[in-house]
Each structure stands twice: as structure tokens, then as C-alpha cells.
């Protein structure tokens, strides 16, 4: 097992059957090194909460390959062939959750709100088995909060107080995941003594431990560009 900061940070925090929430959208803003550390630990029977499950060989796709995941709570998994195969074979339990409902379930979990009502999913299979209530003549579904045993996030910059700042659209699910963990570990590209308080996205109270990334590899799922001659025309 590689001896790196991510591995050491998770060493005593992993156990079989636990629930791990993971930040990122597609491959953007995923905590790659922490996911690799989970893979290397060999922990199994995991419930993983994440908007997506990576792609084959990258991100959470690694945990599927090594057969460490038994349940997935996600909104979209279309980019992962191995996932599709394991799901159709019945090896993987999947709870599809609408993306906005998933974000709010994580937010609620971090905010001490056990459940909330939403219009999303009314009249669909998502509503099966869930309490329904009518407010002002409109029907809403009750959705439950998610509190994770462990939350893993990726941030651009962290400080020694646990404050985090994300970059561009790599913020996505990370602040919500950070808040919903009983224990939260953040990997950061840069560590500073203290972030400017005005620039903090996730206050340090949510973060148990910060580790500095050892590589700077980021993956792009769909590389789309426009030709140079279009400059000025857009």
C-alpha cells in the first residue's frame, strides 16, 4: 500500500459496511487521491453517496472494479460501463436520486434537518414508499437527509484551520458533502496558513483533516473546443 498523505489520513477511519459521501460532478472536483486511498485500504461493503460513479478506471470507478461497493446513491451513472454491468447483474444495489434532491439531502444532513418536502419526483417511481403531503394545494414528497460516516472532498485551497476554497465549477457537490460527514477529510491542491476569511467557501468547522494532493492530475470527460478562427465571433 502506498504511504502517502491520503492513505495516512484515512488509515483509522475506514471500516467495512460504512457510508462514504464523495464530492465532485462527473470527474470534475473529485477527491481522486482519497478515493485511491479507499481502494488501497481494501475496505468493502461500502455505501457510496455521490452524484456520479466516475468512469471505468478513474475516480469511483476504481472502487467498482475492486468490488468494494454494495450500494450506490447517485443521480446519473451513464458514463460507467462496469457499473451498468454490475447493476444489471444484480450485484449492486442502486438508489437513483434526482440530482437536486441528492444535493438537498446532503445539505439537510449537514444542517441537522432530518427530512424535507419537494415537488421533484411526485408521480414518478422516485415517490414509491415515501410520505406525501399537500401544502397550499400542491403535492410534495418527503425526502430524508443523508449523514455519512465519512465525507471525502477536493478543494483548490485549504488552510491549517480546515477552511476550504473551491475553484470554478469544481465546487459542485463538495461543500454539501463536506458538511454531511461525521468525519470529513479534504484533499487540497494548495495548503496555506490562513485563507482570507472573505474567500472561504467551507468553514473549517466541517472539516476534520486536510491533506495536500501529491499529484496534479485532473481528468476531462468530454473535451469540447471551438476553432481559433471563431475568436471574436462568439
Amino acid at each position: 500500500m502506498p504511504d502517502n498523505a491520503a492513505t495516512r489520513a484515512l488509515e483509522d477511519r475506514l471500516h467495512d459496511g460504512m457510508t462514504i459521501a464523495v464530492g465532485g460532478f462527473g470527474l470534475s472536483g473529485i477527491p481522486s487521491e482519497l478515493i485511491e486511498a479507499v481502494r488501497d485500504s481494501g475496505v468493502s461493503d461500502l455505501t457510496v453517496v455521490s452524484n456520479n460513479m466516475g468512469v471505468d478506471g478513474i475516480g469511483l470507478g476504481l472502487l467498482l472494479e475492486s468490488n468494494q461497493v454494495s450500494t450506490v446513491i447517485a443521480s446519473y451513472v451513464g458514463e460507467n460501463r462496469l457499473f451498468a454491468q454490475r447493476y444489471l447483474d444484480g450485484d449492486l444495489h442502486v438508489e437513483f436520486t434526482p440530482q437536486g434532491t441528492l444535493a438537498e439531502r446532503l445539505r439537510a444532513g449537514g444542517a441537522g434537518i432530518p427530512a424535507f418536502y419537494t415537488r421533484t419526483g411526485v408521480g414518478t417511481s422516485v415517490a414509491e414508499g415515501k410520505p406525501v403531503a399537500t401544502f397550499d394545494g400542491v403535492e410534495y414528497l418527503q425526502e430524508r437527509a443523508i449523514v455519512a460516516d465519512l465525507a471525502l472532498v477536493h478543494a483548490r485551497t485549504g488552510d491549517t484551520h480546515g477552511n476550504l476554497r473551491y475553484r470554478l465549477a469544481a465546487r459542485n457537490f463538495n461543500p454539501l458533502v463536506a458538511a454531511c460527514g461525521r468525519v470529513t477529510v479534504a484533499e487540497v491542491e494548495h495548503l496555506v496558513d490562513a485563507l482570507d476569511p472573505e474567500l472561504v467557501h467551507t468553514p473549517g468547522v466541517y472539516v476534520t483533516q486536510v491533506v495536500v494532493c501529491e499529484t496534479s492530475t485532473k481528468h476531462i470527460e468530454q473535451r469540447t473546443t471551438r476553432p481559433r478562427e471563431a475568436e471574436g465571433a462568439a
Binding site: G26, G78, P98, A103, L106, A169, R228
Partner: protein
């Protein structure tokens, strides 16, 4: 003669008004951005946490931290903002987004939409589609009129898993434009060479005709 994908996108672009906040789905809806009237200002939302989407980046300027909801590399325009996923869906659920343009597997005469799963085949998940149809003020669907096997996609009753009930306002296909009304589906525009009878032939739900359609 039917409309091409790009002609369908151009038709959908007419739905946008000056000042609108708009979410474009994956596929043909993404192409709509190329046909927005330059005389109007429209702000594009991407549900992973961007308002103010710009065009694709120049080659060499792609950034893994800057992607749209289809995971494509993008840019942002002056006045753009970034936010987390809960904030993104708060503005969707809260009714702040004026229009969403989405794809479809089936649409019913009542405006029920199915666009996320085919049981027994690959089930990919609904992503943000259920939240978008529940919260956005106007939903326009852009889709081929019939499925690849020739079966109607515009039906009296949907058979596929639903994304939302009574949510679609307008359907733009390669053969016609249809409005969902309390009386049923109304044919409002035909592709060149199409007749109401020919469109009805490939539509499971009964079609009414707007006054402009012969």
C-alpha cells in the same frame, strides 16, 4: 421533408426571450445555444453550478474545473457566477429559471414526460431532469417524432418511467411543433412538405389543429 437537428435547435431558440434564465439539456438542446438571436440577452444555467455559460473553449484552453452538466469543457461570460449544487437546484426548484429545453423518450397528450430510463435496457439515472421539470416555469421538449424503431414517441399514455407529470408545454420534433393544452395536443407548425394527416399517422395521441394549420 423533415427538419434537421440544427433546424430543430433553431426552432427551439425562438422560445427564448430577452432576460431569460435558461437551462439546456444534453443533445439537441445543447445546440440551441448556437441559434440564440444576437439581439437578446439570455443567461444559460448549468445545473452543476454555473450561471452565464459561454461557448466551448479554444483548443489548449480546456479546464477540468470548468465543465457543463454534460461534462463538456466550457467557458463563462462576463457576469457569470459559480455556486454549489444545492444552490443550483434551489434556483431551479424555486422557480427562478424561466425555461428548460430537454430531450424525451416519450411525451403524453397531458404533457407527462419520460426521458430517463428504459426498463431492462441500460438505466443511467435521471440526473437533474426531475428537478428541472418540477421547478422550471416553462418546459420545451425537442425530440425526434418517432423512436429509432419507428414507434410513436408522442403518445396518449406513457409506458416508460416518468420524469414528471403534466410538465411539458411545447414539443418540437423533426416533423412538427405541438403545444400541450387542456384540450390535448395542438399542431401549431409543420415541417416543409408535412401534412397534418401524415403527422397524425406517426403520433399515437390525437392532434388538434391550430387555426393557422390547413
Amino acid at each position: 421533408m423533415s427538419w434537421t437537428r440544427h433546424e430543430m435547435a433553431a426552432l427551439a431558440a425562438r422560445e427564448l426571450s430577452d432576460g431569460d434564465y435558461v437551462n439546456l439539456g444534453i443533445g439537441i438542446p445543447t445546440l440551441v445555444a448556437n441559434y440564440v438571436d444576437p439581439a437578446i440577452a439570455v443567461t444559460l444555467q448549468s445545473e452543476n453550478g454555473i450561471l452565464g455559460l459561454g461557448p466551448f473553449p479554444f483548443e489548449g484552453e480546456e479546464d477540468a474545473d470548468l465543465v457543463n452538466a454534460g461534462k463538456q469543457t466550457v467557458t463563462v461570460l462576463p457576469g457569470a457566477s459559480f455556486f454549489d449544487s444545492a444552490e443550483s437546484f434551489a434556483m431551479i426548484r424555486g422557480g427562478k429559471i424561466d425555461l428548460a429545453i430537454l430531450g424525451a423518450l416519450q411525451v403524453s397528450a397531458r404533457g407527462d414526460l419520460a426521458n430517463w430510463a428504459v426498463p431492462g435496457a441500460l438505466v443511467k439515472g435521471m440526473g437533474g431532469a426531475m428537478d428541472l421539470v418540477a421547478g422550471t416555469r416553462r418546459i420545451v421538449v425537442v425530440t425526434d417524432h418517432v423512436a429509432k424503431d419507428g414507434s410513436p414517441k408522442i403518445v396518449t399514455e406513457t409506458t416508460l418511467p416518468l420524469t414528471g407529470t403534466r410538465v411539458v408545454d411545447r414539443i418540437i420534433t423533426d416533423r412538427a411543433v405541438l403545444d400541450v393544452t387542456p384540450d390535448g395536443l395542438v399542431l401549431v407548425e409543420l415541417a416543409p412538405g408535412e401534412t397534418p394527416e401524415a403527422v397524425q399517422e406517426v403520433t399515437d395521441a390525437p392532434l388538434l389543429r391550430s387555426p393557422g394549420i390547413a
